[in-house]
Symmetry: C2
Subunit: 358 residues, 2 copies
């Protein structure tokens, strides 16, 4: 069930209440086609997560929470045993869609916990069902608020800048609405600022070209796509006031793992005297690891480089190194923009202070 979206694009939208439908923007079709998947059964949600039609840790968690609501629609309110059996079925099933996605398990656990608490409190199946819709909407709203707060703090920090560069996609497609790095740009725009953003295409999977360029164009922010190797040149030309990227995991000392190529940008930024920022929610911090040295670098399939988009562009059997991430050391980061404020300078002490704040 797919159709054209015309205006007011939201990557994740739940329409209705307990009998509602989850609508997901199919990110695998972007930027060439704008297709919405209407999920009125849990299998469609599962497939969308599995096939990366919805991607980004927060977005996956939100989709899974709504997926629970949709999955429970196959059983009525009158048969409690069937309802509880179905809840286990649905959450187990969705948990198998992307076995390494932490936000997925977190959201499913949260939905189950709410259901069990209300059962223990003697509420009816109908009441529990209503509460689950509310809980999914709360997860969605919390993420929206987090992104908005990151955007607000970032825009305040960077109100003197107008020319930006970003890498990969830390935008609304990966989260609810505003994203993390892109939230800074969206908020500056809301503040009436005329800004320009260079977008690294982000090889090998081109999230910058496919997703970030699309999001910026969608919001009519002036954007220029470049190859990753051109970032140094635009810095040298004096066309970048600040660099902002997202992060996948941040150590207790502020060392930040993000899409491969981020470290390169941070080194180049320093050489050109340009401040480099990370924008990420507090949930990205892994306080159990002291520094980035403890973050393992995932290597991905060589075909992502040798067969970009289905066409062979390198000789058969050539050796390939394809690290998915790199780690930018804290000393290269001017500030980490969180929903609680900006951590700057980036030190173990300052991270601990922000982490402890509410």
């Amino acid at each position: 069930m797919q159709s054209e979206l015309t205006a007011d694009i939201e990557p994740i939208r739940f329409v209705g209440q307990t009998d509602g439908t989850l609508e997901l923007l199919d990110q695998t079709r972007l930027p060439v086609e704008l297709t919405v998947i209407r999920c009125s059964d849990v299998e469609t949600v599962w497939e969308a997560i599995k096939k990366l039609r919805v991607r980004g840790a927060p977005a996956i968690g939100i989709a899974a929470a709504y997926g629970v609501v949709v999955g429970l629609q196959t059983v009525g309110d009158e048969d409690a045993a069937a309802f509880w059996k179905r809840l286990d079925e649905v959450t187990d099933y969705l948990a198998g869609s992307r076995p390494t996605a932490v936000n997925l398990f977190w959201a499913l656990d949260r939905m189950k916990r709410v259901a069990h608490q209300l059962r223990d409190a003697g509420q009816s199946i109908a009441e529990i069902r209503t509460a689950l819709v509310a809980e999914a909407k709360t997860i969605h709203a919390e993420d929206r608020d987090t992104c908005r707060a990151i955007g607000r703090h970032g825009a305040d920090e960077l109100k003197g800048a107008a020319n930006f560069l970003t890498h990969c996609n830390a935008g609304g497609l990966a989260t609810a609405e505003y994203g993390t790095a892109l939230a800074v740009f969206f908020t500056l725009q809301d503040d009436g600022k005329d800004l320009h953003v260079f977008v690294d295409e982000t090889r090998p999977l081109l999230q910058g070209a496919r997703l970030t360029a699309w999001e910026l164009a969608q919001r009519k922010i002036r954007a220029t796509l470049i190859c990753d190797s051109m970032a140094a040149q635009v810095m040298r030309e004096g066309r970048v006031d600040a660099i902002v990227t997202g992060a996948d995991r941040i150590a207790a000392n502020g060392d930040s793992a993000n899409k491969i190529g981020t470290y390169s940008l941070a080194v180049l930024a320093k050489a050109h005297g340009i401040p480099f920022y990370i924008a990420a929610p507090i949930s990205t911090f892994d306080m159990a690891i002291d520094s980035g040295d403890e973050i393992p670098i995932e290597e991905r399939a060589s075909e992502e480089i040798t067969h970009g988009f289905g066409k062979q562009t390198a000789p058969e059997g050539i050796g390939v190194y394809n690290p998915a991430f790199d780690v930018t050391p804290a000393e290269l980061i001017q500030g980490i923009i969180t929903e609680r404020g900006v951590i700057s300078p980036v030190t173990t002490e300052m991270v601990a202070k922000m982490f402890a704040a509410e």
Copy 2:
């Protein structure tokens, strides 16, 4: 007329004498297919240059010189007027194949000059025809010698290094046999050194992935393909002792224009304490320009980035910046490896000294 090449690959080969045939390795088919174009008429040579089946300034000059020989085969030795008319026809025709290729005009002029000198000296058409084959072979041999000498000087300079990184394609495919940057690696291998080379894929046109990776694999040099954005990461991992690239144009002070991404590598190399070298023949120096500031940066079509794999990967109408080259300032270059020796430190005085040497 195409067939499989099996062993002992030479990108440009002339088989026979005045009635000979030019064989060109079709670089547009690499690395997936190994196809040789047999040129027994000048139209096939013209098409090969035009369609980039043969590319790289020296290689184009060599192909054009042999193209003159092939083109003259349509007229016999008995009709002098027809011969001279045909010589003009053929050289004008070939000159139109790539109107911006300086080596092309240089080689064609050199062939015509030899013919006219011998005519003035009273030689017969048959003798002139034989001399033209010899002249084309001399152009070819001179370039081979230049590349070999660059390789020798580079291998002496870098004999303490084993782990390299290179960008784009400065190899045998662009020249006769050994190339420039790759000549250093080939010569180190000839010296019995066990070396490893990281190859930047070199977006947008992927010359590293398509050509350099292929050339190194062909010679069984251990090579690992990476995306351009991964170069900083392999430097940080301590896996690069030196970086060597080619150059397209070098100013009198040593500032070097080369494929976009080269400047980025030079900045990253400095930050990691890794020496960065340029390998290029003396003919690459443009002594008429004092510094790199005077080198205009060519911008190429946006489709190279937005439709890079024959597939649209960026939103319709997005702004694109696609500089073909960047300029690496002399102070970031440890040495420029030429056929006459290594210029180091890279200063206006040292460049002038090497330029004046024989």
